[in-house]
Amino acid sequence: MPSPLVSPITDFVRGIGKPGINRGPSTLLAVALPLLLVMAGSLSPTWPVIAAAPVMPPLGFILLLAWQHLRPGLFPVWAGLPLGLFDDLFSGQPLGSAVLLWSLAMILLDILEVRFPWRGVVQNWLVGGAIITGYVLLSAQLAGGLDLPLLLPQIALSILAYPLAARLVGAVDRLRLIPIRKY
C-alpha cells in the first residue's frame, strides 16, 4: 500500500507504458517518432564533429534501413523522396544524390522483403552492410570522385554502426508504442 502522499504520482508513473483494456499508443508518437529519428540522423553534419575526412557514417540512411528491417511497411515505399531531399539539404552532397539513392534503397528493400519475409539478425546485418557499402560508394561517385582507400574507414564504421542503429530503432519503437492514450 503506497503512502497517500505519493500515491497519485506513483500511480501515474506506474501507469505509463502499462497495457490496459482502455489504453492505446498515441497516433502522433507512433507516426512522428520514426520520421523524427531519421531526420535527426540526417542532421548529423550539424553535430559537434568537424571532420577533415569523410568518417561519419551516413546516419540518416542507416536509421532508415534499420526501421525498414524492424517494421517493414512503416515507411511508404516513396519515403526515400522527401527524406532524401531533407538529407541533401545538410549532407553537402550534390542535391538529388540522396533522393536517388534513398528511393533506390527503399525499392530494393521492398523487393528483398517479399523474397525473404523471415529474416534473422545476421541476415539483416549482411543485407544492411551490403546496402550501406553500395550507398557510400555511389554517394562518393555522385559527389565527383571515387577514392576507395579514403572511403574504407567510413564503410567499416558504417557497417559497425548498423547494429547500434538497429538497437536505437528498437528502443524508439518501444517508446513509440507506449500505450499512453486513454480511450
Binding site: P48, I50, V55, S91, G92, Q93, P117, L151
Partner: protein, 293 residues
C-alpha cells in the same frame, strides 16, 4: 519479424490504388533524383536558397553544439596533459630557450623590415576582419568537404571571402545565407589555392585531396625543389586570398610535387575570422573565368 505489408490488398479499390501510386511515386523519386543531379540543380539559386535556409534554421542549435565540442576537446586535452606532463615540460623548456633566441632575431628583422618599408613608402595596412564566427558544422559523411559558419550576409559575409583560423587559412566562402555561410574547405577536392613556398617563393597550387591533406602541384615542371618540412603560404594570385598567409607544411614528396598537411585543423577550431576579398577586380575576373566556382 515477418512483414505486415499488404501487397495484395484484396478487393478494396482504394487500397489497390494506394499501393499502386505508392510504387509509382517511389519510381518517380528515382527519376526526380536523376533529374536533379543531371540538371546541375546543385548550383541553381533555388538549391542554394534551400540549403542556406536549412542551415539558418539549425544554426542556433549547431552553435550550442559547437561550444560543447570545444569544451569536450579541452577536457580530453587536460586528461592527456596529466599523463604526459613530465616529458612535455622538458620539451617545452627546451623550445622556450630556442624561441628566445629566435625572438631576438625576429625583433631585429622586424626593425629592418619597418625601416625598409618606410624607405619604400609602403603603407602597412592592418586587415580588418569582416566577421568573427563559430564553425558550426561540416559535411562529415560526404566526400565533399564543406563547413558551415555562423555568420552570413547580415554580418557582411560575401562569397569568395577567405576564412581563417588562428593557425592558418581553412577555406573560402561559397554560399551565403542570412546568418550562416557555407565554406569550401581547402581540403575539398574542388578547392584550388594559389600558393608559394615561404622561403623562396616557388609558385604552386594547393589542391585538396578530400582526406585532410593537400596536393601541392608546382606551377613549373622540372626538378622537384620541394623538401619535407617546407612551409607553404598563400601567394595572393587570383585575388581571393591575401598573400603570405600560413597554409600547410609538406609531409611527403611525390614525383611532381608534394603532399602537405594543413596547419589549421577545422575540427580543433571553434572561432574563425572572415577576411575581405584581397583584390576585388582580379577575383571577379578569375571567378568569371572558371564559372563562379
Amino acid at each position: 519479424m515477418v512483414a505486415p505489408v499488404n501487397r495484395r490488398p484484396g478487393h478494396s479499390r482504394r487500397a489497390q490504388y494506394g499501393t499502386f501510386f505508392g510504387y509509382l511515386l517511389a519510381i518517380g523519386g528515382l527519376g526526380i533524383g536523376v533529374l536533379l543531379l543531371a540538371s546541375g540543380g546543385d548550383d541553381s539559386s533555388a538549391a542554394q536558397a534551400a540549403r542556406n535556409g536549412a542551415a539558418d534554421i539549425t544554426a542556433p542549435a549547431a552553435e550550442l553544439a559547437a561550444a560543447g565540442r570545444s569544451e569536450g576537446q579541452g577536457l580530453l586535452a587536460v586528461i592527456g596533459g596529466y599523463l604526459t606532463r613530465g616529458s612535455r615540460v622538458a620539451r617545452l623548456e627546451r623550445e622556450v630557450a630556442e624561441a628566445r633566441v629566435k625572438l631576438a632575431e625576429q625583433a631585429a628583422l622586424a626593425e629592418e623590415n619597418a625601416r625598409l618599408k618606410a624607405l619604400l613608402g609602403l603603407a602597412q595596412g592592418e586587415v580588418r576582419p569582416v566577421a568573427t564566427a563559430r564553425l558550426i558544422g561540416s559535411s562529415s559523411s560526404s566526400t565533399r568537404r564543406f563547413a558551415t559558419i555562423s555568420a552570413g550576409s547580415r554580418q557582411g559575409v560575401r562569397p569568395g571571402m577567405a576564412v581563417r583560423a588562428p593557425t592558418g587559412v581553412i577555406g573560402r566562402v561559397l554560399e551565403v545565407g542570412d546568418n550562416t555561410a557555407r565554406v569550401l574547405l581547402i581540403t575539398d577536392t574542388e578547392s584550388t589555392v594559389p600558393v608559394r613556398r615561404a622561403t623562396d617563393g616557388i609558385q604552386a597550387y594547393a589542391v585538396g585531396n578530400g582526406d585532410g591533406t593537400l596536393k601541392i602541384r608546382l606551377a613549373t615542371t622540372g626538378i622537384n625543389p620541394l623538401r619535407k618540412g617546407d612551409a607553404i603560404v598563400t601567394s595572393g594570385s587570383g585575388g581571393l586570398f591575401r598573400p603570405g598567409e600560413a597554409l600547410a607544411v609538406i609531409v611527403s614528396l611525390t614525383p611532381d610535387g608534394a603532399i602537405a598537411r594543413p596547419l589549421s585543423d577545422p575540427g580543433a577550431t571553434e572561432f574563425v575570422i572572415v577576411e575581405p576579398i584581397y583584390d576585388e577586380s582580379t577575383a571577379q575576373a578569375a571567378t568569371a573565368a572558371d564559372g563562379g566556382r
